[in-house]
């Protein structure tokens, strides 16, 4: 029996609708994307069961890299300037007004205080975390974090400050201890550690009660 002949259809599909969808999605993702702010210092953070998001405003962040270098990041330019003024007065750095302006524009601090002047002169592409030696905080005798934190406390007087600590998984405890000591000495008794979220292990007290301190 002869099969009835099927009419041959064109295989050309109209791509217009698909194109519309693609670009609609594209627009959505472009608008919804918030680019990761460029991390000045490269650290791999540990995880914790804490569920509070890390604050993003009025941040003073101390980062500890895996080889124990300490860096400081602040987001408020005015307060940065004030901090630098304080340091300038206390340590007799002899920075001029213009040099303070320049140093306040730095994205982070990671040199001994005595080298701040030189650091501010570096071109932006040379000022990278790897090339700097970090704020000295490895031993208790020469803990410059004390000076920094004391200047910052003065600069943030009467204002809200979110003190964040961002440590690398493999950084050793003594550096962390010295950083904490610098907080404690300046009466900054509350701080937060930046972590990645993690699930609460099943069967534990926190899991059953769901209460968080």
């Amino acid at each position: 029996m002869a099969r009835p002949k099927l009419p041959r259809k064109s295989t050309n599909i109209d791509m217009t609708a698909m194109c519309d969808v693609a670009f609609l999605l594209l627009t959505f993702f472009i608008l919804a994307t918030e680019f990761k702010p460029e991390e000045a210092v490269d650290v791999i953070i540990p995880s914790s069961v804490s569920s509070q998001p890390a604050p993003e405003k009025d941040v003073v962040m101390v980062s500890i890299t895996k080889d124990g270098k300490v860096y400081l990041t602040m987001d408020d330019v005015e307060r940065k300037k004030e901090t630098l003024n304080q340091l300038n007065d206390r340590r007799k750095l002899g920075l001029s007004e213009a040099e303070i302006q320049k140093a306040a524009a730095l994205p982070f601090y990671g040199t001994p205080i005595s080298q701040l002047k030189a650091a501010a002169q570096l071109p932006a592409d040379k000022y990278v975390a790897d090339g700097l030696e970090g704020i000295p905080a490895k031993d208790t005798a020469n803990n410059e974090m004390l000076d920094w934190m004391s200047a910052i406390t003065t600069a943030y007087q009467g204002a809200k400050m979110n003190l964040l600590l961002k440590g690398d998984l493999n950084s050793k405890y003594p550096t962390f201890k010295n950083v904490i000591a610098s907080f404690k000495r300046n009466d900054l008794l509350k701080f937060q550690m930046v972590t990645n979220p993690e699930n609460v292990p099943t069967g534990t007290d926190l899991f059953t009660t769901g209460k968080r301190e």
Binding site: S50, P53, A54, S171, K172, L189, Q192, T195
Partner: protein, 208 residues
Amino acid sequence: MAEMDVSSGGGHKKGPGVKKSKKLSTRVDLTPMVDLGFLLITFFIFTTTMSQPTAMKLNLPKDVENPEEQNQAKESGALTILLGKDNHVFYYEGQLSPDGSNWMSSNFSGENSIRDVLIKKKKDVIANHVHTVNGICQEIWAKNNNDQTACRDKDLVVVIKPGEESTYKNVVDILDEMTINVIKRYALVDISEGETQLIKATEAANPK
């Protein structure tokens, strides 16, 4: 949609000498455009940050001039955790005995992990809770509609002593254990010279 009407408007005829131009198709192949669209979508999906970092709060005690002023912990409820090299954990209950008989080893995961130790210790403390009339617990129970499950663990104090060789991750992990096991009283304390020696000796005796 991708076509446009390009037929010359109106129906007026051209003169006999005018050549009729050939009508070209205005259909555009949109496949490459779709390709490009999806490529960009993939790029934006991958660069979007989904998980926000969280923050873990830590309140420090104020340094006191003379340690006698600090609260003394009940010996029965005290657990001291020491952090050593390579994720090793050591602990002892109450005071460290001079012969080191209550010095124990543990780790972060697997059998006999520090979590199991903490859970067991908490249970012990709750079981051994002695209720004193007019004690602190009396007030707390009265506040919570006589719910006597609360406050029984008030004697539990965990002292955390990270050693020189421990890492930041170890410290965060152990502080996290406190949250996980709902331990309200804990302190981060500097390690003593004797304990550092003991950690070194134990690690040298059991190299893993």
